[in-house]
Structures are given as C-alpha cells and as structure tokens.
Amino acid sequence: MIKLDRVSKVYGHDTVAVEDVSFDVNKGEFVFLVGPSGSGKSTLLRLMSREEVATEGDVWVAGRNVTEMPASRVPFLRRSLGNVFQDYKLLLNKTVFENVAFALEVIGKPRHVINEQVPFVLDLVGLADKSERFPNQLSGGEQQRVSIARAFVNRPLIMLADEPTGNLDPATSEGIMALLHSINETGTTVMMATHDHRVVNAMRRRVVQLDRGVVVRDQERGVYE
C-alpha cells in the first residue's frame, strides 16, 4: 500500500530531513512513526501526500509513484488519502456538518451522497448530536473527531495522522486512538506519527523509529523506547 525506496529529502541546500529511508506497509496495517521532534516524521507523511517531493528515491502510495506524479494528478492521489493533523485544520466559520460535507463538496460529490455520508461518519465518530455546532463550541478531542470524520468520509485507502493526540490529554487521546483503531479495522491502512509513549505502548502495533532522519528500528508489535 505504501512503499518507500531509499528516500531522502533535503530542504533548501543543506537541511537533511530524512535520509535513505526504505520500508513497506501492507494494506490494512497500523504503523506508528516515532522519534523525537525534528527527526523527520512529518516530512515522511508530507512526502506520501505529495505536499513535498522527495529529493532522492521513490515513494509509492496506493500503487502510484508519487515522486514522479504530475501536479495535475495530485488531487486524485489526495482523494485516496485521509489527512489528520495535530491542529485539526477545521474551518471555524462552518458547522461540524459543513466541515465534513466540505470535503465531499469540493471533489464534486452530489448533494444526496453528502446527505447520506456525512451523518453516517458523524455517527461513527460519536458526534451525531453535535453536527450543528461550530468548532469553537467543541472540546479539543471533539474537534479532532470532526477532523477524522472529514478525513474518513470519502473512504480513503490510507489515513495519515500527524501527532493527532499532540494537543490532547491522556483520557481524550485514548478515545482518539480507539477511533483510529476502529477505522483500521475497516481495512484502512493507518500511518500515525507521534512521540507520545503511552499511545504507542498501549496499542502494540508496528513501530518505525526515526532518529535525525534515519530509520533506526522497524519492529512488529513494538513499544516506544
């Protein structure tokens, strides 16, 4: 589902963010990308969603070579990905329903699909009763649920989550992890960058550890060391 082949990314002239990274992720896997701040986790996720282009090596996502993809195809790559961020990236002037609907609207989905899918995912993330609220009327955990709903509403093959629990307390984080777990259960591949020891250790899933841009560990059912 995801394949990195000797991937390096250099920002500007000399900021080496990741260096010679290779790994494969199968369909339906749940993978933690761990490592200290600045070790290159976000850069790897951005290479997969083509927000950045690899300086060297190839990135394959859902059977497509992302590195060599022309810019005009990138929107269609993104439609097979769901992106979740630490800061939620919700639109504050739209309701919960509208935020999720927006993701379908701007890829040209007809109204009847929107009216069917949005309530369904809002129910899935447990926010069915808050669909008319605005983001600033919600807790951080609830806002992150909205952003996960938005990422999932188009049934992506892959979820890319960059520190989704970074702004949340432990109890709320647990709820978010349970949600990502159930999304993974539907067959969606999940790739999550984090430096939160507790969530990694609680889940016992595959762990890819980075240190200064280099993979130093790739372990099934791993913990955060």
Binding site: N83, F102, V106, G108
Partner: protein, 301 residues
C-alpha cells in the same frame, strides 16, 4: 456537474459581499476605463464623418455643377491633368452623382435639413485632388484658377475646412487612448488585488480544499468568475454611460445651425451598439485577465 456549478456561484456571490469595498473600487475603475475607451471610439467615428471626404491626402475638391455638360467635365479633367508637377494625376478621382450622393449621406448624417435638399440628380459631382507639393500657396493659386472654369460650382481646400478639426481629432484621440490604456491597466490591477485579497481571506479553506483533493481548477473557478463578473459589471455600467453620453451629444449637436459641419459629428446607431458590445467584452476580458493572474499566482498557500 450541477453541484459544481451551484458551488461556484454560491462562493462567488459570498465573496462578492465579503469584499464589498474593494469590489466597488474595482468595478468603478473598470467602468470609468471602459467608458473612456467607448468614448474614444465614438469621438473617432464622429470626426470621421467630417473627414471622410478628405480621406487619402485629398487637399482640394473641385465641385462640378449638377447641370454641367459632358464637355465641361472633360475640360475640367484635362485642366487638372495639365499640372502633373503639382497634382498627383494617378490619384485624381472623379465621383459621379451616385458616389457623391452616398458620401453626402455620411457628411450630413446629423443634418436632416440639408440631406432632404439633396437628391442624386441635383447633387454636384466632384474631383478629388491629391497634390504632389507641400506648398499650400501653390495649391491655393491653382484653386483660384479652377474656380473660373465653366461648370465649376466651387473649389474647397482642406486647409480651410479641416486642418483644425484634423489636428483636434488626432490630439483628442491620442489623449483619450493613453488615458484609457492607463485606466485599463489600473482596473486590471484593482481586480487582481480584489481577487488576491479574497483568496488570502480564504487561505485556510483553500488549504483544506487542496488537502482533500480538490483540483486547482475547482478552487480557481469561483475566484475567476468573481473577477469576470467585476469586469462585466464595469462593462454594463460603462455601456449605460456611453449610451447616455451619446444621446446627450446627439441632442446637443442637433441644436447647431445646419451646414456648420458640427452637425455631422454624430454616430450612427449601428456603430453605437457595436461600441457597447465591444466595451462589454473588454470588461469581461480585463476581469478574466486580472483574476487569472491572481488565481494562478496565489494558489500556493
């Protein structure tokens, strides 16, 4: 497809209202620029009526009485051709009655009184003379000589009739043309700025749109429509302005004494509608240009 169109229209309208001040500035400037463009065309056309008989370096017109005999016309012709060092005989042209009548229709377009007195039978025919020399005194002395020929009704010199108007016309044309060009550029700049501001105000939305896989065209279209609409509204306003200006002018001109020449400074209605359509299209074009530049440059949020 319907969902996309609905989306584009809704976003365009919302953005229009959000940036009302900037939008107004852009629309008003476009309207003024386009009004000036339209006026330039109208002035140009009006002067042309007056200058049509002098087109092609004609400096002297020898009018022949409508009752002149064939021999008299032939004599005038040969007299004109007898001065090949002063007169360009290759360019010497004789307008018969139908041709002269057609030309008069244009010259006296704003002067129905004079027009009604003319018929294809009673109209004087004419020789159009292009001189080879720049020496106006020489041309003038020739004219004095031709006035005495039998059958000649009158001899008119461009110098007497149109030098002032010609200079005035080209001055006005240059000034209005430069001003309209400058204003058009300013209008494009203002539309560009409005669209850029609209895109900046919605940068978070644009960021999310790109994230979930909206195509660049999908993101761009509402903004480009917005710019197009601004230019088009400017065009509509200036159309009304062009029409009002022309009506006021035509009415004013009608008050002048017939035969003073001023009365021919009017524009036929077919030409007026042509100018109005051109101004509308030009408005749409500047809107499209301004917003296209903005949309292509500021999409990288």
């Amino acid at each position: 497809m319907l969902a996309r169109i609905e989306y584009a229209l809704r976003e365009t309208w919302a953005s229009f209202r959000r940036n009302l001040t900037l939008t107004l500035a852009a629309v008003v400037t476009s309207a003024i620029a386009l009004l000036l463009v339209g006026t330039t065309f109208l002035i140009q056309r009006a002067f042309e009526n007056l200058l049509v008989q002098w087109r092609g370096d004609v400096a002297m017109i020898v009018f022949v009485r409508s009752d002149a005999s064939v021999e008299q016309v032939a004599l005038i012709d040969s007299t004109l051709r007898a001065a090949p060092s002063v007169i360009d005989v290759d360019k010497l042209r004789y307008l018969d009655k139908p041709e002269s009548y057609a030309e008069a229709q244009r010259i006296f377009v704003g002067d129905p009184v004079t027009l009604s007195l003319l018929t294809p039978e009673t109209i004087p025919t004419q020789f159009k003379v292009v001189p080879l020399t720049q020496d106006t005194n020489l041309v003038r002395s020739l004219a004095d000589q031709y006035r005495t020929l039998p059958g000649v009704e009158a001899v008119a010199l461009a110098e007497d009739e149109f030098e002032v108007i010609s200079t005035l016309s080209s001055f006005v044309r240059t000034v209005t043309l430069i001003m309209s060009l400058v204003l058009l550029v300013v209008a494009i700049g203002l539309i560009w700025n409005t669209i850029r501001t609209a895109m900046f105000a919605r940068r978070r939305e644009i960021e999310v749109m790109k994230l979930v896989g909206a195509t660049n065209w999908f993101i761009r279209v509402p903004f480009m429509l917005e710019g197009l609409l601004q230019g088009l509204i400017g065009g509509v306003v200036s159309c009304a302005g062009v029409w009002a200006l022309n009506s006021a002018w035509t009415n004013g001109v009608a008050a002048f004494k017939p035969g003073t020449g001023i009365s021919s400074l009017v524009v036929p209605s077919g030409y007026l509608s042509g100018v109005m359509i051109a101004v509308l299209l030009l408005g749409a074009a500047i809107g499209a240009i301004g917003s296209a530049i903005a949309a292509s440059r500021f999409l990288d949020v």
